[in-house]
Assembly symmetry: D2
Homo-oligomer: 336 residues x 4
Amino acid sequence: MLIVMHRSATQKQIGAVMAAVEKMGLKASSIPGSERTAIGVLGNKGYVDDLSIRDFPGVKDIIHVSKPYKMVSRDFHPRPTIIRIIGVEIGEGRSPVTIAGPCAVENKDQILRTARAVKAAGAELLRGGAFKPRTGPYTFQGLKEEGLKLLALARQETGLPIVSEVMTSENVELVAGYVDVLQVGARNMQNFDLLREVGRIRKPVLLKRGLSATIEEFLAAAEYILAEGNSQVILCERGIRTFETATRNSLDLSVVPIIKELSHLPIIVDPSHATGKRNLVPPMAKAALVAGAHGIMVEVHPEPEKALSDGPQSLTIPGFQKLMQETKKIKDFLGY
Amino acid sequence: MLIVMHRSATQKQIGAVMAAVEKMGLKASSIPGSERTAIGVLGNKGYVDDLSIRDFPGVKDIIHVSKPYKMVSRDFHPRPTIIRIIGVEIGEGRSPVTIAGPCAVENKDQILRTARAVKAAGAELLRGGAFKPRTGPYTFQGLKEEGLKLLALARQETGLPIVSEVMTSENVELVAGYVDVLQVGARNMQNFDLLREVGRIRKPVLLKRGLSATIEEFLAAAEYILAEGNSQVILCERGIRTFETATRNSLDLSVVPIIKELSHLPIIVDPSHATGKRNLVPPMAKAALVAGAHGIMVEVHPEPEKALSDGPQSLTIPGFQKLMQETKKIKDFLGY
Amino acid sequence: MLIVMHRSATQKQIGAVMAAVEKMGLKASSIPGSERTAIGVLGNKGYVDDLSIRDFPGVKDIIHVSKPYKMVSRDFHPRPTIIRIIGVEIGEGRSPVTIAGPCAVENKDQILRTARAVKAAGAELLRGGAFKPRTGPYTFQGLKEEGLKLLALARQETGLPIVSEVMTSENVELVAGYVDVLQVGARNMQNFDLLREVGRIRKPVLLKRGLSATIEEFLAAAEYILAEGNSQVILCERGIRTFETATRNSLDLSVVPIIKELSHLPIIVDPSHATGKRNLVPPMAKAALVAGAHGIMVEVHPEPEKALSDGPQSLTIPGFQKLMQETKKIKDFLGY
Amino acid sequence: MLIVMHRSATQKQIGAVMAAVEKMGLKASSIPGSERTAIGVLGNKGYVDDLSIRDFPGVKDIIHVSKPYKMVSRDFHPRPTIIRIIGVEIGEGRSPVTIAGPCAVENKDQILRTARAVKAAGAELLRGGAFKPRTGPYTFQGLKEEGLKLLALARQETGLPIVSEVMTSENVELVAGYVDVLQVGARNMQNFDLLREVGRIRKPVLLKRGLSATIEEFLAAAEYILAEGNSQVILCERGIRTFETATRNSLDLSVVPIIKELSHLPIIVDPSHATGKRNLVPPMAKAALVAGAHGIMVEVHPEPEKALSDGPQSLTIPGFQKLMQETKKIKDFLGY
């Protein structure tokens, strides 16, 4: 940590800051410059809360070198984390996986048809929302536990492990009783209670990046889960909110190589929510794999025109089959 | 709702869309143009989910005229809602209120000192966080129920009604047992379970705008609360996330007149979180009042340099006293 | 400047960086920490280009303490700059001014009617576009020199100094021949050739903030003008581009107190372009003045419904008269 | 175009709007709904300026179906445009090209070494800045005409066509006298005078997307060039400005398939400026090609640690060679 003093800071003020730092058990080192003095803070292990220093007279700025996360960092855990789910492995060095299925579970026929089709086309996991976060209260909110039962039935029929969203800490146990991977959605990325609760179970968690979360905040959210003892976290980029309105969100593919550098956790990409448009899903899915993503998550619906949510961004079954043929070639090309 | 067809759409495609609309119990009206045809949808009461239509062949775009909220809208409730809290009134035509206090309740001395000081200076409500949302898991997370007890003690001493954040639906009852106004924070603006739960109690709710929430999403979030039967909602602008890094967030003061036009709910402004810098709080607080805000919420700490959170944006007690003298003049000027 | 080394940086790498810094004529000071070493760079006068250092092996990050601007900074010029234009003064301690007029000069009648009306209502300067930047090539692009002549005529009739935009360095001389203040528009904030050219004339320049310009970039753009010898620069906040679509741009009023702290140049606010909606102009104009702006710039049109550009955000003449009555009260209240 | 009337609009107001539309030579068609009336506007060829209508009493909103560009649109020019530059072809169905070279031309040795190396590695065009846009006035601004001469020399030695930025309309002729492709930079994307001027020459133009330009504005900027008679425009995505600070900009790869759908012009990607970090360039370059880009533009410097600008994002020569081996495989994979 570096404390930058104002040009007009007095020696007394500098001394007071240094004394305060040392009182925290850290070492303060004065760095006099031609225009101003800075104070280097040494000896801290990880993140130091700067609040007791920031308001000292004469302090201009505080620059953190350390980060608000630790266990998710590659510095502290250099080897990649591999998530294992009933025979599927996700992470560095493994063949990228495909998670596919409808935005929402709507009925038995819809989820079974989709499950069989995505399994046949080569998907490794089945997704489907039972609890749905919706902007307004008057739209379809999901089948809830009934939806989880249908997902479990689809798993039984196809053998595909299932991924479904949990929206509240109260439901973590319920959802974990049915699914293989619990998803924490973008709107809940900073629902810290929920993060802690999924940190206490022993099932993998798929954590989506918040709509306006920085990479640092994304990793700090994952840290909440790891800090509770669950290190099976899959990160998922799903587009960020920007000024551009041509797409639902702006897919920020650069996070893939950045996350791989900063963290040992797997990072996958959801091009369906990122773009919001069916025809943009295949090019972005393929681009994600080439950028190094450990998997993709795509929405598939047997009849998107009748979908109760996210129809415009859902692939049809033939569309998904075509994508899987293409991603198979990409995986071959990448050597998996 | 208007359905815009592709230039190349066939008469058969147009017919199919119109038939589908009518099957929904609505009226379809063809609008042939020189370049393309559009289909007007009439007869809908409120928002129509367009998902069953968007994927019909030949459909280019769907334009909604209606909104995802209804009960929060001035169209449906033209008279302003006035929130009444133990003798304080918040809303159109009432003198703007000041909610003041520390970011977090830290100890008995701190909250009592602050409560007495802000009361003496003219604040109408006391704020203080007992459950604190923090980016990383290793920083101070609040005193929890102990903090609520201290707030209740401060209310007993000063008579100030208290506002405190509830972060999870499980805690709504607990928090409501202590406080006069439940705050739903920016990170939880789309925690729909929490919104529904605070919709079921009979206490006012202060709903903060999410970091990247549009005004439409903000109002739709409030609609969740009203839809459950609780119409005592105070909206609060607290800055949005933009590319600018000179401030913690970018205060979007224009929402004040916009919300007043669109909704009957009161709208207040939090310049502390919006700017993140103490010296920017007074000019932005005063600007908010002149822009028409029904109140301001500011962070005050007796010793900001020792604050466990948000010290840099907290006013000192003398700083708050000065602000209150200035806002008193503004209120006089505005005729309150 | 502080150079942060990687944890794994070797002593040799640290030595090489320090040698390179000293070769630049600066002093390098090693700051060994428990986790990594940092190198303080001393002796630089102003901004040091870090490019020759950033790529040295072992360098993790470089943190600048200095800024890309100097002459616009209050550090180097503590007293406020007052811009004087034919009897009008703009800047700290002066009564805030109002610049009013149509987006574009359309014809003699329109500009004369507007000029007389805004003069009568109390405006101090007349604005009007003769060269218009437009998103697409098929919309009205301004009357060009003919527009400047009409503005000059309006000045002759009313005595109001005139402000008009110059879009290209080639036209600086032409525009300067007619107007009292040259405006550089938001889209040209980083048209460096144009900035240099208006830096060479001896007339005031009104520099608008770019749509996605940080405050640092805004001040650095002004520095281009001052660096050429013209210190008569008026800064103008006009809204930034964000995800919010309810307004044309998001008015970032916090820049007013920030700019006043960082720079000696006057800062005014344009609520018309910021909001894009007529009914939002008065509350935002008043809020700007209370936030400390040295003036406002508003669009006024005698018949906004017939305006060739920006009609929806233009005040009518009665609307402007009402605003001026209100801002007069605000100025009285502020003690001007 | 659709004109949406207020719920409270009177028949007289509706009639007045319809009359105004017909006076513009268009056909107005009333669409009465259960809540409000809309008016369809037919007969317009391309974009209609709505300004004369938006302010009529009773008008709530105007929805455009048409776009502010025409000649760049695939609707009007379905076949892809292929840009031909001394034996190189850029566009749909052609093998993606690589434009490589230093950010800025610094001296003869640097540009010749780079030119030979990128030629040997497989680049098809050489880039190099002679006129450099820089945030602040005190950093290296380019060698200007001397830089262009060195680029021409490099072309003579290697046969590589050259691309260089032109920053002002005054210099278009000068730059066009040396280079094969004129680049218009991101900061000048809405420098309309410059756009018109490069529209008047008969050389290809590489137009970079502005930092906060929507896709619609990007295409409208290209329209300025085509409208002057120059249809040889190469579009270039180079990252947009968002809240994320981990990268210099946020690369918005989705524009590649979107632009290919909307326009016949080629679209290439610059991962160097988008990410600002050398190690992110290869994954993003490869992702861009798989997403369908017609080419990539990357910065290469023989000694990035000594580069006068953009060193951190420049590939070394061995780094570029490695990238070219990888992109060669990608191109084989894609069937080129």
